[in-house]
Amino acid sequence: MSPLTVAVPTGRLLHDAVRLLERAGLHARGLGDDRRLLVDLEGGARVLLARPTDLLTYVEQGAADVGIVGRDMLLEQGRDVYELLDLGFGACRAVVALPEERAEQLWRPGHALRVATKYPRLTARYFEQVARPAEIVVLYGSVELAPLVGLADGIVDLVMTGRTLRENRLREVAEIAQSTARLVVNRSSLSRSRRTAELVATVRALCVQEAGRAGG
């Protein structure tokens, strides 16, 4: 029997993801503190650390049984994995943002926007749906820079507090999607690996507990 492999994303979801695994009985404390990317845990489980953009590839191809990933990545990449649980943490929104002083002028219907984003598919789908013409510039780093230097009219990006937008004099004009962290599972692991099913059940129970506490 191969060990249970859980893929955990580096970056903004790491802390909460590790905390969740701890509560689910996988002792992953200290994960991400050093440079190890594959960490064996007690009891034959292991955790692999992956960039959020890569994580779904590991789960889809079966290199990991279970993963934790933002809904934004699921919407962008459209992979063949089971999205089973909304974990509640890592809340953020994907929005269209334009330079404050020109927002109204740029957002008028019929104006062909140049949009910089790390989410080309999500962005293209949105502009198709609202029937606005748009040209997409794909960037991998800080997209807020693009409108400041004239590379694009505006951006599509994730916002949590809106602080980055304000600091770069950008204003949200439309919300494209809301995102939280999700538990995703490889299709065949769910049927073939008992430990995967057990972990899903444990995390589901934790989520219900959490929701009960939040509701009460």
Partner: protein, 411 residues
Amino acid sequence: MRIRRAERARWRQVPAGMRDQTAAEVAARRRAEERLRETFARWGYHEVATPAVEFYETFLHGAGPGVGDRLLKLVDADGEVLALRPEMTVPLARLAATRLLPGGEGPLRLAYVAPVFRGQERGSGRHREFTQAGVELIGAAGWRGDAEVIALAADALRAVGLTDAAISVGHAGFLRGLLATLPDGAAETARELLYRRAFAELEAAVPPGPALEALRSLPVLRGPTALARAELLAHAAESREALAALAAVLEGVEAHAPSVRVEVDLGLIRDFDYYSGIVFEAHGPAAGLPLLGGGRYDDLLARFGHPAPATGFAIGVDRVLDVLDCAPASRPTVAVRYEDQAYRQAVRVALVLRRAGLAVVALPDGAAGPLAACTVRVGPDTTVVSGAAGEVATAFDDVLVVVRAALETRA
């Protein structure tokens, strides 16, 4: 304006998702394909072939507009839009409905082993050209047909050495019944979420009630108790009928092949939307993508003008080979080495050995050549066969006998 990659770098590469195959890879593939062909033939399925390229419209007509994005398209000299086949079920349905069924007698048992193509696959590391081997049973309604193709699928996996594969079986009607109880808008959204397998998002899209409960439990409606648990969730008539049909098929498969591991999986949703009844997949010992998939598609043939119930499956030959990691038994090579003045004798020796079915390479003395199981050295006056057992001088007429003996000692 797009900056193109330098042509100079391009010709070293093949397009993304395409690949070359070495002699060893091709040998392993051929062996697997031959075993699959043989298995299909033993079950009375006859291999047919269709063109790799068809009208774009054919695929849309068969598999629905959603398939358009997944096709590798091209435009011919007349401006006609063509597409490379993304799978074989639609081409075979077209072939059967337009040519084989009219005036013929059913049911048809068709098999194929053929490369298929995808325009852009979701996910990296996926192939855009790969081989599918499968069957279609056309003109047979009911559980016996489904049981036959599932048992054949298991037998085919066994034939290529996958004895520990597990087959998951579901039924599209169970889900259809659940969705039918929802208000129109919610049903459409739920269907879209389920195609994306976004179970976590159902709660926001579907009003609370028994249907939501059932939809949310789809991923866990699998295993030995799944049918019993599903009974409690199935309120729509169509869902209940689906469960009864599923039970009958499982019994049928069990009759065919008691040792095959078959598991109920009501959360199984296949990518192609022509499936109407039983759906199934098989998974290998390791996690990953399914090795084969199939199911019943009773409405597809009607789209091509000749209604007929049908069921079938396709094995991903490349995925099977990935799992098997089998080194093919290569046939031993005989090297015929010659001195320059003995060229004519040497190539005649080589011809005699080849006619007898051996793999022979003729080479000048000292030239680089393949690793040989046995070497025949041909000089102007002498012929010496050397193998594991030592060297034997022989006359031209006896070369074949001596070489065979040398190869046998090696074995």
